[in-house]
């Protein structure tokens, strides 16, 4: 009896182990597909069984997005709309948290060959995916008519060696948002120069309120929000013609020093939110000024954000003495996985969404959020919206100063980020930090064989 019990126990444990391996060893696509799928699997009636059979015969495309709130709803609806008009295609939209999206999630999915067919890419990581061969060359889908509709600079940003690797669909500019009441109470004017910005930060930092919010965390977003200050003084990271590092000189040192001075003046060295792209801290009255982008306007105007009483203003980014106004023009790109089993279907979905359609990009840029479209036809259709509220400041005072966000390899993004971090938090001499970064950049460029 004892032996029977012992052997039964061994059998039970072995079956449990096998069962556990079967469940947890399932493929990534199944795991990804269970995360907020847009097409839920319900109990099937005979009718639904027939529908399921039809779906099973359709071309399936998975589409990963990181957007949330109204933007997330827009992306999910994009898939639904395409499915309605294309009965032979099933687009499955999957929502991934932004913090995971660009980190482990996409990389491990592609390495395991279970990555999405369609995904979003920031300029900061663009080259990583082009140089690794993951991005599909979309040039065959860009007719001359479609190309003519896009702003040349927007197309250049997604072109490498004369091949187009993504579909741009938004141009996001940076400005300085501020709390009108806080500035008025402290008798401070919205700053126009770097010195005024530092003084205003010092004056407005009181108690739990920080005078200014700039991105303290190292990463592509910190670089994105800092580049305008580098460009305002005539500086840059890499010479476009020679591909050599030029991250030295007064323009670089002054821009680095500015952010160090702003931290000393009261800009937070640490934040509890994932990133300062969230205008919420300004809206809630925790900061008096914040560098943020066009995307913040939709959030500011949303009556459900819980802080509609906050009186927010916007001015262009302050400039140094003798400098020229500049802002960063960012914006994510739509990309197709070159290793997809349905590249043609995926490419057609992407082109339909943002390169051929006018209504959908217009809705994205003017209703869902605020951004400029890289397409003339969409800009023309939505020209009335560009002068409403805070948008007018972007349109009249900031748009013409925009420079496209650079697309450097991660190692260069990291070297620039390290220089910023050392000056902001380790009291490093900007000249020393800039030289160190430039040496790393030049060393990297010697062995770099990818495209830029």
């Amino acid at each position: 009896m004892k032996k029977i019990l012992m052997w039964s126990l061994v059998l039970l444990i072995s079956i449990s182990m096998i069962g556990a391996f079967s469940i947890t060893g399932c493929k990534e696509e199944k795991a990804a597909a269970t995360e907020e799928e847009v097409a839920p699997a319900e109990e099937e009636s005979a009718e639904e069984a027939e529908e399921t059979k039809q779906i099973a015969e359709k071309t399936e495309i998975t589409f990963w997005y990181f957007h949330s709130g109204a933007e997330g709803e827009y992306m999910a609806a994009l898939a639904d709309k395409y499915n309605e008009i294309n009965p032979n295609v099933e687009v499955r939209a999957v929502s991934i948290p932004q913090a995971d999206y660009m980190g482990v999630k996409l990389t491990t999915a592609f390495a395991a060959e279970v990555g999405p067919d369609v995904f979003f890419m920031s300029p900061g990581d663009f080259l990583k995916y082009v140089n690794s061969g993951l991005a599909l060359d979309l040039s065959p889908y860009f007719t001359d008519e479609i190309k003519a509709d896009f702003l040349q600079s927007a197309l250049d940003a997604v072109t490498v060696n004369d091949k187009i690797y993504g579909v741009p669909f938004e141009i996001e500019l940076l400005g300085l948002y501020y709390n009108k009441d806080m500035l008025a109470a402290a008798n401070v004017q919205p700053p126009k120069t770097w010195d005024e910005l530092i003084e205003a930060t010092k004056t407005l930092t009181k108690g739990e309120v920080s005078g200014l919010l700039i991105e303290p965390n190292k990463g592509y977003y910190q670089n994105f929000t800092w580049y305008p200050f580098l460009w305002q003084g005539g500086g840059d990271v890499i010479d476009a013609a020679t591909k050599e590092g030029i991250f030295e000189g007064p323009a670089v040192e002054n821009a680095l020093k500015l952010w160090g001075d702003l931290v000393k003046a009261g800009a937070p060295a640490k934040i509890t939110i994932p990133g300062t792209w969230d205008i919420g801290l300004l809206g809630q009255g925790n900061v008096a000024m914040q560098i943020c982008g066009t995307w913040a306007i939709a959030v500011i105007e949303d009556p459900e954000n819980g802080w509609s009483e906050t009186n927010i203003g916007l001015v262009p980014l302050p400039i140094p003495e003798g400098g020229e106004a500049a802002t960063d023009a960012g914006g994510w790109k739509f990309m197709v996985n070159a290793h997809s089993r349905n590249v043609d279907a995926a490419a057609k979905f992407v082109m339909w969404a943002f390169a051929e359609n006018i209504d959908l990009p217009l809705e994205w840029c003017t209703v869902t959020k605020f951004a400029y479209s890289p397409r003339q036809s969409v800009i023309e259709s939505g020209k009335d919206i560009y002068s409403k509220g805070l948008r007018k400041v972007f349109t009249d005072e900031i748009y013409d100063t925009a420079i496209g966000e650079p697309r450097y390899p991660s190692e260069i993004v990291s070297a620039v980020g390290d220089a910023l971090q050392e000056v902001m938090f380790a009291n490093a001499d900007p000249k020393v930090a800039a030289k160190k970064a430039n040496d790393i950049i030049n060393e990297f460029m010697k062995s770099f064989s990818g495209s830029m």
Partner: protein, 304 residues
């Protein structure tokens, strides 16, 4: 003794012995199989990947030991190892000293209050590291955090904590130690309870004070558990990652760029999976070396 052997050498497994312990071997088998499948095989794959140049998408390119040669001259890597060693020294000493101290105090308390305090100290261990990291991120906020509000009561100016390169690593070490002190104090407490009371009574009769009792009786009796705690906490400290990812992302100014975070950056930011695998093996060798040194210093916990 045995008539037939399945394997010769040090591990003298005989048919008779297997037959006698068959049930034990079979009960251990699932765990061994699991370890092989989940640990040893992936480790072998990672070792192979470390001999290649691979971005995770294109085919692997075999380059032999080139990754290992590169890491030997990678100053950023050795800097991150240095930061990890500093973290280890802070973390291990904090965990060891505080958990032993708490165990000694708990051992001197009798009744239900001891059980209650043991539970209170143990609670942080039951909460996920990620959740605790987020909670501490809020508590250490320079302007609105609870810790600065507490320091303000004593007139201490607000600190940057995670925004200060000189404080960030200590904050992470402290937070992690705080979560583990309860767990290790229970381990110490279990051993302390086994020390015969007559040893203390005899010593007291000879006029020993509290410190002498600890030095001459308590501490020597803890040799084996000392080795366990020191080695396990050292290995854990070399593997620190979650807290760094959530709280500081390696900053500010690289002050918390520990080894595992540097490996993560190389793998998922730079898409250098071959190089990051080589870094991971190097870290394993360093951890192994540390453990050997610790074993030698503590003589494996053998009592003299």
């Amino acid at each position: 003794m045995s008539s037939k052997c399945f394997a010769r050498g040090k591990f003298f497994i005989t048919k008779k012995r297997v037959g006698k312990n068959l049930f034990a071997y079979l009960m251990l088998a699932p765990d061994i199989i699991g370890l092989v499948l989940i640990f040893f095989i992936p480790m072998g794959i990672a070792l192979y990947v470390s001999l290649n140049e691979w971005n995770g998408i294109s085919p692997m390119n075999f380059i032999g030991l080139k990754n290992y040669a590169t890491l030997m001259s990678d100053s950023l890597w050795w800097h991150s190892v240095g930061i990890t060693i500093v973290y280890t020294l802070i973390f291990v000493s904090m965990v060891y000293c505080l958990s032993l101290l708490i165990a000694v105090f708990l051992n001197s308390i009798t009744g239900k209050i001891q059980g209650f305090l043991r539970t209170v100290y143990f609670v942080p261990f039951t909460i996920s590291t990620i959740v605790l990291s987020i909670i501490w991120l809020f508590m250490l906020d320079p302007r609105r955090g609870l810790v600065n509000k507490f320091l303000h009561i004593f007139g201490i100016p607000a600190q940057s904590f995670l925004g200060n390169p000189k404080q960030a690593l200590f904050c992470i070490a402290f937070m992690t130690a705080w979560t583990l002190i309860g767990y290790y104090s229970i381990i110490f407490l279990a051993v302390l309870k086994d020390i015969p009371v007559i040893y203390y009574e005899a010593a007291k009769l000879d006029g020993a004070n509290t410190f002498q009792l600890f030095k001459s009786i308590t501490f020597p009796m803890l040799k084996e558990v000392n080795v366990f705690v020191l080695i396990v906490t050292t290995i854990a400290s070399f593997q620190v990652f979650d807290q760094v990812k959530v709280m500081t992302s390696g900053g500010p100014a690289g002050a918390t760029n520990v080894a595992v975070f540097y490996i993560y950056t190389n793998a998922f930011d730079y898409l250098k999976l071959g190089y990051s695998s080589a870094l991971a093996f190097m870290l394993f060798i360093i951890m192994f070396g540390f453990s050997i040194v610790l074993l030698k210093i503590t003589k494996g916990g053998e009592r003299e």
